[in-house]
Symmetry: C2
Subunit: 482 residues, 2 copies
């Protein structure tokens, strides 16, 4: 294991994290809030730690980066950013408890959006901006991770999505990753900026518009308001949220190609079509539920349905009403949506449409294979046959996902959480959604859970965000032996 | 499709079913109950219908039985036995409603044990015997199905268990099936008889001993008492139940070999070892829960824990106390146990230990494969490498199982069932266990559910019992085309 280069990269990440922390200071100055010194001190401290690590790991004799180094960098990178990122919250005293501060920051960097803050609106502007920025940075990280790094590491079928953007190849992590990153981040920044402009046009103030465009594009779900997005009742603003959640939940390769005038790709992209189809169908079902049980206005029912389906499916987790009580069965319905996940190569978390598609398709083809045992019947994805290796890999991912969720629910129930709250909390955290069901439902938050439960849930957020394998591998003896 | 031979076999099954119905008459005579004519009429009618079908399908020009005929015979066989088997209940008036009678009989033949009877003890002896006998016959059917027929049909990895008993080969359904059936049924009868003797020694009366030995060996769970097995408070009787549930949940191949003095097989049988290991560990956990929350007697806590773990894991579904309220987390705990299932080749239902083993093992090996992408790392089962085909097949089974359970829970919640009751009802029915959680928990029954829900649950029992694929295949266009 080449620890020197691993720590060098972590050091670099921490330097950046520290600089980003201080970006909230202009807001503190403008709003005359008293969090300037907390942000400044945390920022300088984090950057300094990063610089020291960077300095002591200079001139590595071996510059090679293998797969195993890749897994460690990704996991340790996210972990150390969440650790240092929590300092401003503690230093200012907005979240004095380390457990809570870590939970909140991990929820940010993993773009989950579960919060332990009971009164968000008392938190000063600079800190709130930092809170939103953790999500945006996490989203930025995940785009590159899922489209450039994970495919090379062979995680859960992600290799299916590589080689679609010019510049991404399966062979070399470096230097193509840098090129890919630049292109995808360009799109990410353009989208964020466009959303901000539209939110301003919709009447939102600049600070809220900036924060919400950061957390929408990251499919994060943090808000500057206690009522979350329910605070913004303008239909225009809600539609802006919907459109940008949908964009954020799509594979960024599609955006890249669209920016180059190549729209034909949407026609052959299996996952994109499944994504649109699924959201359309489920929205219609939910709109009918809403019409029948809550509200008789067709446009509003459609909007509410589309908003919540999009919010949960893209794993954003914005909440604009208490969907849990729409109808007796809406709790079950919205719980299931926690297990969908957006598209691979998006900022969204969860199982992802590509995997669901492969699993459903392969299982239904298995029926065909039973009738024609000698025929070779492969799953087709984006017009190409998918190898058995990838199917096995995706199925293993799904089984881990379900197994870990079940195990987590059992563990949480040992801490006294009721069945529904335990299952809801684990599912929403591993899926990086945000709100759960039961006592962690859309109108509640995670503040009252026992400390140990918050640590476990933080771990689940990281696990889900890094597509399970990246983290789990590190705990296997084989990882350290070879 | 060779319909003539399919119906000929169904006709034969119905003839047998009719004859078996009348076996309860001696009990009716002895207990002077008034169900004699109901049993006699139903039995004669069923046999007559069977005989007519048998007569009109004589001399089939084509005697060949293909796979597709196999799937249809199995599904239609179970379905028609449940249809005709419900006649005595309706004719006597014990269950006047067709929906309820069908649910109860399907619950019997699938060895599920979910009941709609609110007062079992008023049902006359002959009918009660018939009710227990449906389970025993279902169990008999399932042993042969899982060890001789399904492996040939290639269902969900069941081919792993073929060729272990002399007389079972993968090639021919006929005439080896008959030979295998005889040997396995001999063991089944011996076990049932031995349990009956032991229950008599434990102080049970002959009628109860017969009924309970029939439903134990079938991992069925029907009882002649309203309180189910909680009626029998003798520790000796409870231990007898435990031992025979454990035996019934084991692969009957192991019993076959043991009867021939070949005990070495238990040493290399992966599933058997996993089964014993799992039950031991979970029993210890549950015993500690029981000790801490319910009762401070070590022996009784151990016995209660072992009883319920064995009862749920083997999918028997006997209930000896309200385990749901032992501790805040016991509801979650016992819910998860509904998804385990006994061993393949037993009378138990559910996902089965063999599949769980393959899934867990393959997923953990996937981590190893990520580190050594060029190495071929197969799952080993019973000392042999398992092919990727079988893993894919088992994974497809698991995904179908989970998918269908989720879909069923959503559908049931549309009928107004709460989250926990809906999930519990579907899981216990597809797993052929019996009691669920929530409003269909260990102390409740299925009587109050809407009719449509009972039909859906009946379908789920059949689906689970026939390892999903057997039934699902019939609904695919490919099945009918080729």
């Amino acid at each position: 294991m080449n620890f020197k280069i691993i720590f060098r990269i972590i050091g670099f990440l921490l330097m950046l994290t520290g600089i980003f922390m201080m970006l909230g200071i202009p807001f503190s100055i403008y709003y005359k809030s008293d969090d300037i010194s907390a942000l400044l001190q945390s920022g300088i401290f984090t950057s300094a730690v990063g610089l020291i690590i960077w300095f002591f790991t200079r001139d590595p004799e071996n510059k090679e980066l293998g797969k195993r180094e890749g897994y460690l960098i990704v996991t340790l990178g996210w972990l150390s950013m969440a650790l240092f990122g929590s300092i401003p919250f503690m230093l200012y005293g907005a979240v004095p408890n380390f457990t809570d501060a870590f939970f909140e920051t991990m929820s940010g960097f993993t773009t989950t959006g579960a919060t332990i803050l009971t009164d968000i609106e008392v938190v000063p502007a600079g800190l709130l901006f930092w809170r939103s920025l953790t999500q945006w940075l996490g989203g930025m990280g995940i785009i590159v991770l899922s489209l450039a790094i994970l495919p090379i590491l062979g995680i859960g079928g992600m290799q299916l999505f590589a080689a679609e953007v010019p510049g991404i190849t399966k062979d070399k992590l470096h230097p193509r990753v840098r090129e890919t990153a630049k292109r995808l981040w360009g799109i990410y920044v353009i989208f964020t900026f466009t959303e901000m402009i539209l939110l301003l046009i919709g009447g939102m103030n600049l600070f809220d518009a900036i924060n919400h465009s950061l957390t929408t594009m990251a499919t994060g779900g943090f808000s500057t308001k206690n009522a979350n997005t329910a605070y913004f009742t303008s239909p225009f603003i809600q539609y802006v949220f919907i459109v940008f959640m949908l964009l954020a939940g799509m594979n960024f390769t599609i955006h890249y190609l669209a920016f180059h005038g190549r729209f034909e790709f949407t026609k052959i992209n299996t996952e994109f079509r499944f994504y649109i189809f699924f959201i359309a169908i489920v929205t219609i079902v939910v709109a009918v539920i809403h019409l029948a049980h809550v509200n008789f206005n067709i446009e509003e029912s459609f909007r509410q349905a589309l908003f919540h389906v999009t919010s949960l499916v893209t794993t954003t987790g914005y909440v604009s009403s208490d969907y849990e009580n729409w109808a007796p069965f809406s709790r079950m319905f919205f719980f299931i949506l926690l297990f969908i996940g957006a598209c691979a190569g998006s900022t969204g978390g969860g199982i992802k449409f590509a995997r669901h598609y492969l699993l459903i398709k392969n299982s239904s083809l298995e029926l065909k294979r039973l009738i024609h045992p000698r025929a070779i019947i492969p799953v087709r994805f984006n017009g190409k046959a998918v190898s058995a290796d990838i199917i096995l890999n995706v199925q293993a991912f799904f089984i881990f996902y379900i197994g870990i969720t079940v195990l987590g629910s059992i563990i949480l129930s040992f801490f006294g959480l009721d069945f529904i709250t335990a299952a809801g909390a684990v599912s929403t955290c591993i899926g990086n959604v945000g709100p759960g069901i039961g006592a962690v439902g859309p109108l509640n938050n995670f503040a009252d859970l026992p400390d140990m439960v918050k640590w476990i849930l933080s771990f689940f957020m990281l696990l889900g965000r890094l597509e399970l394998f990246t983290v789990l591998l590190i705990f296997t003896p084989a990882f350290w032996k070879s």
